[in-house]
Amino acid sequence: MALLLLSLAVLSQSWLPVFAQYDDQTKKTLSPPQDIRAFDTPSDGGGSLTVIWSPAPYDSAATRYQVLLSEGTTVPDPAAMKVVAEFPANQHYVRESKWPWWTKPATGEQHQFTMRNGRGVELKNGIAYSVTVAAVLSDDRGIAQPVQATPQPNWMNWNQINNLLLALLFGGIVFYAISRAGKREIFLRRIPGLDAVDEAIGRATELGKPILFLTGAHDMSDPSTIAAAVILGRVAKRTAAYETELLVPHRDPMTMAVCQEITKQAYLEAGKPDLYKDDSNFFITSDQFSYTAAVDGIMLRKKPAANFFMGAYFAEALLLTETGASTGAIQIAGTDSDHQLPFFVTTCDYTLIGEELYAASAYLSREPVQVGTLLGQDIGKGLILCVLGIGTILATLGVLLDVQWPQLFLDVFKDVK
């Protein structure tokens, strides 16, 4: 009996403080997230708020953060606010956001969450909202004091300031190069395809056969069609001088109208306006394969001695060039459609690859504007090469040494919205 009483006394006395302590601990609430800041998400069209808060010791996969939102500046009960997002507490850091370093709102260790209008969240511009963050662990919940913010549309996307500066830099380089080309002679390397233009026209003249010139599949808004039209002007000048027939079938009526003017002008400049024929430039159809069939028919019937394929092309490229090759014509192609380059290279005598087409107008005319642009492009490419080299070295260093500072350079050349 005594032993029983003693046991009871021990049990009732000695464990009580332990249990009491445990009860106290479970009754303690999770400390709410600290240093909450909410603000209008910068560099966007509105309808978005960003909230930042400090990391906490309890940040882990077990604990969860809830982002709460309510309209208006007064919040009678933060616990009743709408939960717009919930995620593990070891996620959503500033360092994980896609923002570049010059727009990041806080240090990398801080938490960040951006709410956007849509998908269950309604954020109207100009209306104040109360935002807060709660930490949740099992039944425990710690809610921070709400803060206010108003979403607003912004006039400038600062995330893209690097893009703007690089675009302005490139524009500046092009203008500088054009002004320099006006003052002194700039060396242009020989482009074999263009040297062959005269040869091709001469051959056609000797054989008494016409020249076929195609301007591609796109309309006049495409740079490749503009380049093709410029080259047509040069070719037309030569054909006018040699009195060779020129055939220019078109897929687009507006391109045809422009090329008619260009050809007319070329004949005028060559001193042979009476030889100009309006229907040397003619419209066939806009449909890809109907056009191809028609041009193939022209090639087989008229048997031009020289075929020029300048501009953008799609699947019809091989159909055109293979038919032309079967007639024995000399073929010169120039395209920025890289998917058709293999076919042109295989079937044509000379091919202008990619921007060689754009360079062609400069090469043929030697106009300062054209040559200067070419120089500007080459300087731009040189810059890109340097950036690629430096960037690769810095990125590798960053990984090897586990440091973040190379990202400062790399972000400048990253495309962020």
Binding site: I161, I226, E355
Partner: protein, 216 residues
């Protein structure tokens, strides 16, 4: 007249070019609305361009028929086909099928347009074979390397090739993902810079060939 033909288009090009280049960096809804308006106008103009295309076609072939030029019979066939398709299309309200039943327009589309277009595209397979036979010769070291890469990719892209030479699949993937992607990227960078430079010249009026005619 020169002012209308030259200066006004150049001014329009300058203003709209600069505005819409800047628009890219302005996220404000006003900027988005301006872009939406302009793209709607582009759609409308694009629709009219179709009309322009058809009327040009009519005009060109009408002249051919009137002058009885070589091949004018085909122009007549084109006229009949075009007018017939337009009439049938309007009668069917532009629909290829109504409640699962094929319309006359659908018949023309399925039994004339689809096979004809498919045939033209299918000719490519034959042409590439004849072009390959004629031109894929190892005339130089570079051509030999190109040839070997082409053979590996051709083998690796079909089940039979992978069955005969299992390594060809992985090799062709590597060629496509590493060699091809890097070269395409380089061409893309060059072409893009060329496009940007040409766009700058057009916006600032240094390139005017799109207006037609030469220098003044």
């Amino acid at each position: 007249m020169i002012f209308l033909r030259r200066q006004v288009p150049l001014l329009i090009t300058l203003i709209t070019g600069l505005v819409f280049a800047a628009q890219y960096y302005v996220p404000h809804p006003t900027s988005e609305q301006i872009l939406t308006s302009v793209t709607k106008w582009l759609q409308i103009i694009g629709g009219f361009a179709l009309v322009l295309g058809v009327s040009s076609l009519f005009h060109v072939h009408a002249i051919k028929i009137r002058r009885k030029e070589a091949g004018w019979g085909y122009s007549f066939v084109l006229y009949v086909s075009m007018l017939g398709t337009i009439a049938v299309g309007l009668w069917s309200n532009g629909k290829e099928a109504i409640d699962g039943t094929m319309t006359a327009f659908g018949w023309i589309y399925n039994f004339m347009m689809v096979p004809l277009q498919g045939t033209m595209f299918a000719i490519l397979a034959f042409f590439i074979a004849s072009a390959a036979y004629r031109s894929f010769r190892a005339r130089s070291r570079e051509a030999a390397v190109l040839l070997i890469a082409a053979v590996i990719v051709m083998m690796g892209r079909v089940p039979l090739g992978e069955y005969l030479i299992p390594l060809s699949g992985d090799l062709s993937q590597w060629i496509l993902n590493v060699l091809n992607a890097s070269v395409r990227r380089a061409i893309l960078i060059g072409v893009s810079l060329g496009t940007v430079a040409l766009s700058i010249k057009i916006i600032f009026g240094m390139e005017r060939s799109y207006l037609g005619g030469g220098k003044e």
